[in-house]
């Protein structure tokens, strides 16, 4: 894995690059991924709502599903402002999470909650790694969407309380979390190798963070660094639940 060095300590300090390095096509691709991710979040939250154990949860999850649609529409509007066709940009990512979903069918309500927390967390972190070279407005939209999706303190509280009260459940969920993150990292890797626009944006982000030892003209070389970053964030996130990553 490429070593992570502070900016300025390598031959390619981030500060020397233009602040808006990304092409508009690459920006639109990232926005397409983000909009598709929100659409997927909507579907997942709506499904959770219909299966919720009580009306209070059902209403709460319906509200969150609706918020995901709203966020998706901010992103679609930005794609349009950038001269893109919103539906085409989203369609380019159609079925991105299909394998992930097929391989991670939750066996319980807890597993379902954790799946959303882990999977959406990794997707958000991936977008965050790609955001540095975006124009200010697009960057603001991406970060706002990520912040909006993260606000599920309730899932954290419910999961960590359940894990604390039940050791067997806690170790099962820790195992489930490892399985989820393994599959999610697989999706990130596929995106990096199959979508040059995303690979360029992430490589740009790595360079701005002063990551040395990789050739910036070969974005795929940043894959190990990206997976390392995503894993570290995942570990931090599981820690918030009191679970071992």
């Amino acid at each position: 894995m490429a070593s992570v060095a502070p900016s300025g300590a390598t031959g390619e300090p981030g500060g020397l690059r233009g602040s808006h390095a990304a092409s508009v096509e690459d920006v639109r691709a990232l926005l397409g991924l983000l909009a598709y991710t929100e659409l997927t979040a909507f579907t997942r939250l709506a499904e959770s709502s219909s299966q919720a154990p009580g009306l209070h949860e059902r209403l709460r999850l319906a509200r969150r599903a609706s918020n995901a649609v709203e966020r998706q529409e901010w992103v679609l509007a930005r794609i349009e402002e950038l001269g893109g066709d919103p539906e085409a940009e989203v369609a380019a990512f159609d079925r991105t999470y299909a394998d992930y979903n097929d391989r991670t069918t939750p066996g319980s309500w807890w597993e379902r909650l954790l799946k959303g927390y882990v999977g959406h967390g990794v997707a958000d972190d991936f977008c965050r790694l790609a955001v540095d070279g975006l124009d200010d407005r697009s960057r603001e939209v991406v970060l706002e969407v990520i912040r909006g999706g993260e606000s599920d303190e309730r899932s954290v509280a419910v999961l960590s309380a359940a894990a604390e009260a039940d050791e067997v459940l806690a170790s099962r969920l820790a195992l489930w979390g490892r399985r989820l993150v393994g599959e999610a990292l697989g999706v990130a890797q596929t995106l990096m190798t199959s979508r040059p626009a995303l690979a360029r944006l992430v490589a740009d982000g790595a360079a701005r963070r002063g990551v040395g030892g990789v050739d910036p003209s070969s974005p795929a070389e940043h894959v190990p660094w990206v997976l390392g970053q995503l894993t570290a964030e995942h570990t931090r996130r599981m820690g918030r639940l009191g679970l071992t990553a």
Copy 2:
């Protein structure tokens, strides 16, 4: 069935009654039903979105599902303004549509679209029959919610084009429509007999419309009139699709 006569032609013209006849408890009950209906619409639309044949439909149905949540929240806010506990009012209707849903599993995408159109249409008409005695603000909220849910011109266009192009499909959908409305009328009847608040509001509406021949102190006697009204509206709705009710 009680005859429908214009106001003033019977012994009990609507104009003689107070304009806000309904008790606040009865109003809250109707709002609870309406909010629950919107929650159900959300679940149905979200499910349709996840099963949609293409991304365009998937996005469109996600937007409609999200709108249903928004409408539901207007209603919950009104219940709160009226001093009620929104979740408790909605919970009182939990599983109202469960039997209806179990008995009407759609066999195709067309049947699914028609189910939403017919079932939600009957639910809206039922609320419309009960709205006359409400305070102005609650009445406005109910009618606004109904208008918002109705705006699915796209389903109408898609269904009527499909029915026009395929006679076999058209006769199957006509049959499916009759099955749906039969089940939906069963739900309306159950609500009238099991929920005195709704029966009172609907009886009040009937009296204001000048319906004669029934005893206003015995709201259950209005059931045949209500079913007749709902059937007439259903026939009109199927006509818009070019289908025989």
